[in-house]
Subunit: 242 residues, 2 copies
DNA sequence: CGCGGATTTGAATAGTATCAATACAGGTGG
DNA sequence: CCACCTGTATTGATACTATTCAAATCCGCG
């Protein structure tokens, strides 16, 4: 719709011109002039793997768009048990709109590029652009769907099915440019350590390891260097997901 | 804000006048004249316990507000394993906005009163009322927060902590009129069978039963007639939630 | 090459599930 | 009003899955 206007690239901010998320996520809602307005407040930020992006019970001062990489969302029980409650890939929106403080932690799982925007700037733009709020609603609904799908995995799948489901999730999300309908075999690097995977699946590291070797011995996956995986047949992997 | 206008009750529809959800949930966003417009399409419906409200992969033709009672949301794996992914209490909104078909099942867990509105009617009202979409966003964010909290329960808590967490959830939500900050002991009827509880917690019926007797023997709860529970100290129950 | 963190493997244990039997509650009809 | 009947819940015995604790191996990197 608005892509025609973008032919005059001089109208839109330089940073946005080369941004993969330009037409997706939140930004897709914006006309060039709104984008200019937004870009006056945004700032591209790089974060190294392991860097904390948002702390639990921390006051939220800004939101962000994930431009590249993977962000890990976690919650902790008082005694230290941890649960990964979601992963965010480009071009997902990062942050809990309209909350005073965060009720979860966000950490860069891999190297990450973010486009940050101050809370106040975004919230005032929302007031003038219903379409922006609509995008936010769509993103939140998507995350809710994903959370509910994962609840089934956590509550009702076996360890082996859980690990297969995790690999399936990563394989289908790690490369936002790829159309998964056309792909049957795929190679990718895991953005998470075994500990993180365990915390995502509600299991222990040892169980993750054992199930991975089992999947490898069954020929469902090939493991090259601990982190780099190859799935010869996505169909066969899907069969293992329960 | 708009409550002053409601003094002239004749302005708002009779059904809405006595509706507990009038100032909450979605309806709270509406001015009297919008409420009149909305009420032209709504229809109050009663559903008996166990009645299916929305089927999986069913085309969604209407949304609803929960006026009273509890609605159970579930998903199933292909082999029949079931997971309850959420409970909805008054005045929650029921239905997945902007989806062609439902990806989950909804069932009346207790006797339920709903205020139904056709999909098309709500969606056209959204277009003219950004405040309505804002309410929808807030509701969705609330559900996302709840889903993520529950993921921690499913992934990282023991059977005993899960059951305590479930009882805590019910005790704090079953009566929308009660302010839980002021309450330390409470009596309530469970809206779910043991099977449903098991499906909510990712456990078996037998485990639920055993953990309930354990909580009873430890004096954390008193069970009267299978379904009717008494919690002498919410604080002590909370301590069991992990 | 050697160090430190991450991962894998092994053996023993604990926590839930499973299978089977019994008890209970609520509703029905004699 | 009671005896029965059915679905729901509890209890018991056993099996199995995943955890725990311990040790060995692998990997990236200075």
């Amino acid at each position: 719709m608005s892509s025609r206007k973008d032919i005059h690239n001089s109208d839109i901010p330089i940073l946005c011109q080369s941004c993969e998320a330009r037409h997706k996520g939140i930004c897709g809602a914006l006309e060039p002039d709104q984008l200019v307005e937004l870009a006056r407040h945004t700032r591209q930020v790089r974060a190294k793997s392991g860097e904390e992006l948002i702390g639990d019970t921390e006051e939220v001062k800004s939101y962000a768009n994930v431009i590249s990489g993977v962000v890990k969302l976690t919650k902790m029980l008082s005694d230290g048990r941890q649960q990964v409650i979601g992963l965010q890939f480009a071009p997902d929106f990062l942050g809990r709109p309209f909350a005073e403080e965060s009720r979860l932690s966000a950490e860069a799982a891999s190297g990450v590029n973010l486009c940050k925007i101050p809370k106040s700037a975004l919230e005032s733009m929302i007031k003038s652009s219903p379409e922006l709020e609509h995008r936010l609603l769509m993103q939140t609904l998507k995350e809710l769907d994903e959370a509910r799908d994962w609840m089934v995995t956590l509550g009702r799948k076996t360890a082996s099915e859980k690990v297969a489901s995790f690999l399936y999730l990563i394989a289908t999300h790690i490369d936002p440019t790829k159309n998964m309908d056309e792909v049957d075999s795929i190679k990718f690097d895991l953005p998470l350590t075994r500990v993180d995977i365990a915390d995502f699946l509600g299991l222990t590291v040892e169980t993750i390891s054992r199930q991975l070797t089992k999947l490898r011995k069954d020929g469902v996956i090939e493991i090259e260097n601990n982190r780099s995986f190859f799935v010869p047949s996505m169909e066969r992997l899907e069969d293992r997901c329960g």
